[in-house]
C-alpha cells in the first residue's frame, strides 16, 4: 500500500464521516437510528447490569424483560402469577410453598419450559461456586424439588412470610445455561428466556437492544423494538432526549424541570422506598448516646432537605418505610424542633462550650460522617445534616471516601447510607436493625442493638397473619423513634421523562437500586401506541 492510497483512503473515510455526521445531525430526531415509529422505544438509563444471567443476580426483583419469574408484581406491587399458573399454596406451618406451573410455555429458542428449569435456577444460584452476591436473599430455602413436569415445591428452613416475594426472580433454561460455566459462560451475555422480549445485542457500556418475542405466553408486545442506551452523564442523557434520539430517560430533578412545559413529553415521578440515612454507631461515645441520637433526630430539617436538595422530588423519611406506604406507622413522624433538641442535650448534661460545641465529661460532641465520594446527592445530604447538627451544638465533620476506605471505620464512625426494597418491610428492616447482623458485611452498619426490635423483626418474618405482621413492624418503627440508631432523612423520588406517544406508561413503587426493571417502561410489553 503506497502512501498515496493510504492518504486517499483516509481522505475518503473522513469525507464520508463528515457527510454522514452532518446528515445524521442536521435533522434531529428524523429517524436516523432515532425514534422511528411508535412500535420502537429507545430509553436512556444511567447504570447497566454487569451480567444478564439471572443465575448471577440479574433481574432478581422482577421486570427483567428477557425472562419471567414464577410470580410478578403488578402496578400496585401485588403479586400475580407469571410462569406459575396461580399464587403458591403455603402449608400450615409456613415452611412449604407449592407452585403449579403454567402449561405450554416455551423459551425463545422454542424449547419447552418445565419444572426442571425452576429447580435448576434456584439450585444453581444457591451453589457455593456461583458468584451471585444476592443469594443471601434466598437464605430461607432448605430445598427445592420438582414434582412431575408442572409442580415445584420449596421447603424452607424456617417459616418466612415474605418468601413468595422472592419468587419474582427470573427462570433460566437448564438446556442452555446448565451446559456452561455459570460465572463466565456465554449465557451471561447472550441470555435466552421465556420473557416478552428477546435480546438482540448488548454492546457493553453503550446499549442493550431487544425485540418483541412473538411466542410470549402473554401475547406479543405492541412495542416491537426496545432499546436501553447506557448514558452515565445526566447532561448528555438530557441532551439526547431533547434531540429526539431517545424516547424517554431517567433524569435528576434539576434537568427534569427543563421538560416540565413540554407538551409532547410527560414527566413521571416514581414513588420509592429509596432512603438516605445517617448511621449512628452504637460503639461511638457520642453517637451511641441516647440523648444525642434523639436530639439529632429532631434537629434535622427534613422538609428543607426535600425542598432544597431534591427540588421537592421526595418525602421526609422517619424510618425505612416511606410515609405513604400501608406499612408506615402513623404517629411516628418527627417534627423539626431545634429548641426541643437543645433541651434534650442540656438535660442530659451536654453543655455548650465557648465555640458553640457541646461537651460532657470531657467528651466533645463531635463525630465524622462519611459519604461515598462522587455521589452528589449523598454529599448534599451529609453537608445539610452537618449544618443542622451544628445548630444544636454537635459538630459533624463530613468526609468523602470509597467503600474500601469507609468499611474499616463503619463500627465507630457515621456513614451516609442508602437503601430500600419496596416488596416487603422485612427486606430492609431485618438487615438494617437486627443486632446479630451488626457488622455483617454492610448490614446494620450502626451495630443497632435493641431487644424489642429484634423480637418484633423475628415475629414479622415468621407470621403469615397480616395483622400480626403489621403490629410487629409498628413496634419496630415506634422503637426507632424512641431510640434512633439511624437518622432517616429523605425518601427520593425517581424522575423520568417520556414521549407522550403511548398508552400504558406508569410507575411502580421503586427500590433503591436502579435496575433495568425500574422506570415507566417496567411494563413496556403492555404499552400500546396512542390512537391519534
Amino acid at each position: 500500500m503506497t502512501a498515496r492510497t493510504v492518504r486517499g483512503a483516509v481522505r475518503a473515510t473522513l469525507a464520508a464521516a463528515l457527510i454522514t455526521g452532518a446528515a445524521a445531525c442536521s435533522t434531529p430526531g428524523a429517524g436516523v437510528g432515532g425514534a422511528a415509529g411508535t412500535d420502537s422505544v429507545v430509553v436512556g438509563i444511567a447504570t447497566e447490569p454487569e451480567t444478564l444471567s439471572p443465575l448471577l443476580g440479574y433481574g432478581k426483583d422482577g421486570n427483567s424483560k428477557i425472562f419471567d419469574g414464577l410470580l410478578t408484581h403488578d402496578a400496585d406491587m401485588k403479586l400475580r402469577p407469571a410462569l406459575a399458573a396461580s399464587l403458591p399454596e403455603v402449608s400450615e406451618d409456613g415452611r412449604t410453598y407449592s407452585f403449579t406451573l403454567r402449561r405450554g410455555v416455551t423459551f425463545s429458542d422454542g424449547a419447552p419450559f418445565s419444572a426442571k428449569d425452576v429447580v435448576f435456577t434456584y439450585r444453581t444460584i444457591l451453589a457455593p461456586g456461583t458468584n451471585n452476591a444476592s443469594k443471601t436473599e434466598l437464605d430461607a430455602i432448605e430445598s427445592v424439588e420438582a414434582k412431575g413436569e408442572d409442580t415445584v415445591v420449596f421447603t424452607l428452613k424456617y417459616p418466612y412470610a415474605p418468601f413468595a416475594e422472592r419468587t419474582v426472580l427470573p427462570i433460566a433454561p437448564e438446556h442452555i445455561a446448565g451446559r456452561q460455566d455459570v460465572n463466565s459462560g456465554d449465557f451471561t451475555k447472550r441470555p435466552v428466556g421465556t420473557g416478552p422480549y428477546v435480546l438482540t445485542a448488548w454492546s457493553k457500556g453503550e446499549k442493550l437492544s431487544f425485540r418483541a418475542n412473538p411466542g410470549h405466553w402473554g401475547g406479543e408486545p405492541a412495542v416491537k423494538k426496545f432499546t436501553m442506551a447506557v448514558i452515565k452523564d445526566d447532561d448528555v442523557r438530557a441532551t439526547r432526549l431533547r434531540s429526539g434520539e431517545l424516547d424517554g430517560a431517567i433524569l435528576p430533578p434539576g434537568l427534569a424541570k427543563g421538560f416540565a412545559k413540554d407538551t409532547t413529553r410527560r414527566t413521571y415521578a416514581a414513588r420509592t422506598f429509596d432512603y438516605r440515612n445517617v448511621t449512628l454507631p452504637t460503639h461511638h461515645e457520642v453517637t451511641g448516646d441516647l440523648a444525642v441520637r434523639r436530639a439529632l433526630d429532631i434537629a434535622v430539617d427534613r422538609t428543607a432537605m426535600v425542598d432544597r436538595l431534591l427540588d421537592g422530588a421526595g418525602k421526609p423519611a422517619f424510618g425505612p418505610v416511606p410515609t405513604d406506604s400501608p406499612w408506615f406507622t402513623a404517629g411516628t413522624e418527627r417534627r423539626h424542633d431545634l429548641d426541643r433538641a437543645r433541651e434534650i442535650l442540656d438535660d442530659a448534661g451536654w453543655k455548650e462550650g465557648h465555640d458553640g460545641i457541646r461537651t460532657k465529661d470531657g467528651i466533645r460532641a463531635s463525630f465524622p460522617l462519611w459519604y461515598t465520594a462522587g455521589d452528589k446527592i449523598r454529599q448534599d445530604h451529609a453537608l445539610a445534616f452537618a449544618s443542622d447538627a451544628k445548630k444544636a451544638g454537635i459538630e459533624v465533620k463530613a468526609e468523602a471516601g470509597t467503600w474500601e476506605v469507609i468499611e474499616p471505620r463503619m463500627k465507630t464512625e457515621a456513614v451516609l447510607a442508602g437503601g430500600g426494597s419496596p416488596a416487603d418491610p422485612d427486606f430492609d428492616q431485618y438487615l438494617l436493625l437486627t443486632s446479630s447482623l451488626g457488622g455483617d458485611g454492610f448490614n446494620n452498619m450502626a451495630r443497632y442493638d435493641d431487644p424489642a426490635v429484634d423480637a418484633a423483626l423475628a415475629e414479622g418474618r415468621r407470621s403469615a397473619d397480616p395483622a400480626v405482621r403489621k403490629a410487629a413492624y409498628d413496634t419496630v418503627q415506634r422503637r426507632l423513634a424512641e431510640n434512633p440508631g439511624y437518622v432517616f432523612l429523605t425518601h427520593i423520588d425517581h424522575l423520568y421523562v417520556v414521549n407522550d406517544a403511548w398508552d400504558g406508561p406508569g410507575t411502580q413503587v421503586e427500590p433503591h437500586d436502579h435496575g433495568l426493571g425500574t422506570g415507566p417502561w417496567w411494563n413496556v410489553e403492555d404499552w400500546k401506541p396512542q390512537q391519534k
Binding site: 493510504v6 445524521a24 422511528a36 457500556g205 434520539e245 455483617d440 454492610f442
Partner: protein, 321 residues
C-alpha cells in the same frame, strides 16, 4: 537488521514477564477491593459469609505470587483466564474490542500526521510569520492540555451545545446494526480529539525539520536553479525535513495508548482502552495483566520500529541495537 529485530524480540520476553508481575503486585497494593467491585450494589446487602465465599471463588484470597504464577502458566498455554468485570473470557474481551481501538488510533494518527505535516510545511515557509506564530502558539497550548479535558470540551461544544455530532458510543442508540455510516459519524469526535492531542508534536518536528532543510545547500541550490517553489518545498525540503519525524513515529505509541485510554472513556467508545480503565478500577487481575502485556508489547514494537527506520534512512547509523 533482521538480527537486531530478533535480538530485541528475545529481550522483550523478560521485560513483559516483569510487567505482568508488576501489574499483579500493583493491583494487590491498590486500595480497590476486587470483591466489592464484583458484587457492586448487591454486595451492600450480602452477608459476610457470602462475601467471603465470593473472595474464595474469585481466587483473590490467595497470595500474590501464587495467583501470578497460575495466571502465567495458563496464559502460556493460551488460556488468558476469565475477566471478572466483564463476566466473560479475557480472550473474548480482547477479540471484541481491539479492532475498534485500532481503528480509532489509526484514524487519529493519520489525521495528526497529515495535518501536522501540512501545517508544519506552511509554518516553515515563513518562520516567524503570522501563520507560524499562531499555529505554534496553538501547538504549545494543545501540548499542555490533557486529553480528557480536550475530550470533555469537545463533547460539551459539539454535542451538547451544537448537537452537531453524536456524543458517544459506536452507533446511535436506536440502531441495532453496526453500519459504516453509523460508526464513521461516531468516530469523528473521539478521533479528532485523539489526533489533536498528538498533533502538536508532529507539527513542531516537521516545522523544525523543514525550516532547517530550507536553509541547507541542496535546497538553496535548487532555488538558485530556478525550480518552482512547490518542487523545492515538497521535493527537497520536506523529504529531508521529514526524516527525523518519521524515525520517531514509533516512539509515539505510549502517548497514543494513554491518550486513547482517556478519550475512549470519555466517549464511552467500546474499545480496548475503555476496558482497561474498567479492569483497573475493579482490580480485574487477568484482564488487566493481559491488556498491560498488550500495551507493553505495542510500546516495545514501536521503539523497535523507530530504530529500524532510523537505520534505514540514516546510513550513518548501524543496526547494532
Amino acid at each position: 537488521m533482521a538480527r537486531m529485530a530478533g535480538r530485541r524480540t528475545l529481550a522483550a520476553a523478560p521485560v513483559l514477564l516483569a510487567v505482568t508481575f508488576g501489574v499483579f503486585a500493583i493491583a494487590a497494593l491498590s486500595p480497590f477491593d476486587p470483591v466489592k467491585a464484583y458484587a457492586g450494589t448487591a454486595g451492600l446487602t450480602a452477608s459476610q459469609a457470602e462475601l467471603d465465599q465470593l473472595r474464595i471463588n474469585l481466587g483473590v484470597d490467595r497470595p500474590l505470587a501464587a495467583r501470578w504464577w497460575d495466571w502465567l502458566a495458563s496464559a502460556l498455554t493460551g488460556d488468558l483466564g476469565t475477566s471478572a468485570v466483564m463476566r466473560q473470557p479475557v480472550s473474548d474481551v480482547i477479540a471484541e474490542r481491539l479492532g475498534w481501538s485500532v481503528l480509532l488510533a489509526a484514524c487519529a494518527f493519520a489525521i495528526a500526521v497529515l495535518t501536522g505535516t501540512v501545517l508544519g510545511v506552511l509554518a516553515a515557509r515563513r518562520t516567524g510569520g503570522a501563520l507560524d506564530r499562531t499555529v505554534s502558539a496553538l501547538a504549545y497550548t494543545l501540548e499542555a492540555a490533557p486529553a480528557f479535558w480536550l475530550a470533555l470540551l469537545a463533547l460539551w461544544f459539539f454535542s451538547v451545545r451544537l448537537g452537531a455530532l453524536p456524543p458517544g458510543g459506536l452507533t446511535d442508540a436506536g440502531s441495532d446494526t453496526v453500519t459504516f455510516a453509523q460508526v464513521a459519524s461516531h468516530l469523528v469526535l473521539p478521533a479528532l480529539v485523539l489526533s489533536a492531542s498528538q498533533l502538536p508534536w508532529f507539527f513542531l518536528y516537521v516545522r523544525q525539520g523543514v525550516a532547517d532543510a530550507l536553509g541547507e545547500d541542496p535546497v538553496r541550490g535548487a532555488r538558485a536553479r530556478g525550480l518552482a517553489e512547490r518542487r523545492v518545498l515538497l521535493g527537497h525540503a520536506l523529504r529531508s525535513g521529514m526524516l527525523p519525524t518519521l524515525t520517531l513515529i514509533g516512539s509515539r505509541v505510549p502517548e497514543l495508548i494513554t491518550g486513547a485510554l482517556l478519550v475512549e472513556t470519555v466517549f464511552s467508545f467500546p474499545g480496548i482502552a475503555a476496558a482497561t480503565v474498567q479492569a483497573a478500577t475493579s482490580v480485574d487481575f487477568p484482564l488487566l495483566a493481559a491488556l498491560t502485556v498488550l500495551a507493553s508489547a505495542a510500546v516495545l514494537a514501536g521503539n523497535l520500529l523507530s530504530d529500524l527506520l532510523y537505520g534505514l534512512v540514516d546510513p550513518r547509523v548501524g543496526f547494532d541495537g
